[in-house]
């Protein structure tokens, strides 16, 4: 693999985005109380440049970087690619890098760790010293973690997990967060810490390098520090925490250390989420007690403002869920031609292209998809044939509306795993992460006669001889039509 020149930290990423016109510097003072959130939200809805807010009311020296990865252009920049790269090109690069050899992180001395430039311990610890924004009016609180990594470690297996679990500031020393029971951290808590009544050490890293954030967001089986190394082509620099044995990205802007309490919970939520709704009820949730805060000089807090499309939660999660499912299906020998999740589905619909070479292939795909670790994050799988462009919604929608038999093509899976965030789920199902899922089989049945039973697609590309197509295309302007030939 050739040398990768991806931004190594959030500051290099901001600079690269400003240089390419994919971020704007906002010099005027911005209020952390709703105004910053409103700016980021509008940028997401307009597909605008990312706002780098250099002056925050009440918090001199701090800055915000909003909507860091809510466009494919910024995703390409994060990977060190041309911002104009297409989605299939970005996806191919992701697959190439994540199929390479894992790159182990390196531990650096704390003197070489910018995240240690300021250290708050003991009575100095107060989350209110950080510019924690009120992201949406009406949220249950100011959210510390919206684009970050919560770092934990399984005490027996040693698995390190960087996960993006939203975290709300409850008071100056306490955060609460949504940790689903099927998530890596949720399993670690229920498997080990909660039965023993032991606190679970954690560290929240904010202002990560964009590829570290991408790793934290990706549902990959590869441990996130190694995955980040594979994505960036070099070892991630880690440094030991001040108050526990966890290791955190040395170049992160802000680190919050502490303990997840096994027997004490405070309220969390509601919060505007990636589904485009405030769905999950306010409830007593996993509670994080803070023991230390460390941060860089002039630290930048990253903000994701989730809501209606499109934000980085939708974009990046769709991207990585699709590609991880593609890897899974190919590992099982299924002749998939591609997997794509449109971000505007708020990562709820998986579109799978496949060569329909045997009966039941769509069902096999759905069973693998829903039965995998990825499954709780989406509830619709649509399987189309290899002649349908999965990236072209017009083609996919046409296939769905015409080939999916209402009686034989729609298969509902009941009593599966869901999330508390599904807007369509009942309050009871949300509370207990009970899901239901559906397969839309848009393949022609393999036992239909291909000559006499399978309908012929009537399109310019499919029904006219090549020579006629070429003649019409070459004469298009001469006929008097405007527009380039296609």
């Amino acid at each position: 693999m050739g040398k990768i020149s991806a931004p190594r930290n959030n500051r290099e990423f901001v600079e690269a985005c400003v240089k390419s016109g994919d971020a704007v510097r906002i010099k005027q003072e911005v209020d952390w109380d709703n105004e910053a959130g409103a700016i980021v939200r509008r940028c997401c809805e307009l597909g605008e440049a990312a706002p780098f807010m250099e002056s925050i009311k009440d918090y001199p020296g701090f800055s915000y970087f909003g909507a860091p990865l809510s466009t494919y252009r910024r995703m390409a920049i994060a990977l060190g690619m041309d911002p104009a790269s297409t989605l299939p090109q970005i996806g191919a690069e992701y697959l190439k890098r994540t199929n390479s050899e894992p790159i182990a992180p390196v531990i650096v001395d704390r003197r070489d760790a910018p995240c240690k430039e300021n250290i708050l311990l003991g009575d100095d610890v107060d989350l209110c010293k950080l510019p924690v924004p009120l992201v949406h009016d009406g949220d249950g609180g100011r959210y510390v973690g919206t684009w970050h990594g919560v770092i934990t470690k399984h005490p027996v297996r040693g698995d390190v997990n960087w996960g993006m679990y939203r975290q709300m500031m409850w008071d100056g020393r306490t955060m609460s967060g949504a940790v689903f029971p099927f998530s890596d951290l949720g399993k670690t808590l229920t498997d080990y810490y909660l039965p023993r009544g032991e606190g679970c050490p954690f560290a929240t890293a904010i202002g990560l390098s964009p590829l570290a954030a991408m790793a934290a967001c990706a549902p990959s089986p590869i441990p996130e520090p190694e995955l980040c190394g594979m994505l960036s082509g070099e070892a991630v620099r880690l440094v030991k925490c001040e108050t526990n044995d966890l290791e955190v990205p040395a170049d992160a802007e802000i680190i919050i250390e502490g303990m997840i309490l096994p027997d004490y919970k405070v309220e969390e939520g509601p919060f505007g989420e990636y589904t485009g709704y405030r769905t999950s009820p306010r409830d007593f949730r996993v509670t994080f007690r803070v023991d230390a805060i460390t941060y860089r000089n002039n630290a930048t807090m990253t903000i994701s403002n989730m809501g209606v499309p499109q934000d980085e939660g939708q974009l990046l999660r769709s991207f990585s869920l699709g590609l991880e499912l593609e890897k899974l299906l190919k590992s099982q020998g299924i002749p998939v031609t591609g997997v794509y999740m449109h971000p505007r589905s708020t990562h709820h619909m998986m579109i799978v292209g496949v060569k329909p070479t045997y009966a039941g292939i769509a069902m096999q795909i759905a069973q693998l998809a829903f039965g995998s670790k990825l499954g709780p994050w989406f509830h619709m799988v649509m399987v189309v044939d290899d002649q349908t462009d999965i990236f072209n919604w017009d083609e996919v929608y046409h296939a769905f509306c015409t080939r999916c038999n209402p009686e034989r093509g729609i298969h509902v899976f009941k009593n599966t795993t869901g999330t508390a965030l599904y807007p369509h789920a009942t309050p009871h199902d949300r509370k207990y992460s009970i899901g239901s899922q559906v397969l839309f089989d848009c393949l022609w049945p393999v036992d239909w006669d291909k000559t006499n039973d399978v309908p012929t697609l009537v399109s310019f590309k499919n029904v006219y001889p090549k020579n006629i197509q070429e003649k019409v295309l070459n004469s298009w302007a001469d006929y008097g039509f405007r527009g380039a030939k296609k």
Partner: protein, 85 residues
């Protein structure tokens, strides 16, 4: 100076008047600690001049209620076990 508070409830009936309640309330006073929570024993009244402090109410999904209250914070309740303080 009067304080401004906010509470989240699923149902306005949770804010019974004429009795002591234990609620999780957050401060709306301007400053660095705005929106931080505390647990407290309180008394609320729909008569806005009954108590010095004001209470704003939000419902389950963050909707702002048009019902306003005055509130008296009787005492703070510390639920956090001693071993974690």
């Amino acid at each position: 100076m009067a304080n401004k508070w906010e509470v989240f409830v699923m149902d306005l009936a949770e804010l019974a008047e004429g009795k002591e309640l234990e609620l999780t309330i957050r401060t709306l006073n301007d400053g660095l600690h705005k929106y931080t929570y505390q647990r407290a024993k309180v008394e609320v009244s729909s008569k806005l001049d009954q108590f010095a402090d004001s209470l704003q109410v939000r419902l389950g999904r963050g909707q702002l209620s048009d019902r306003k209250f005055s509130i008296r914070v009787i005492e703070r309740v510390e639920r956090l076990p001693e071993r974690y303080r």
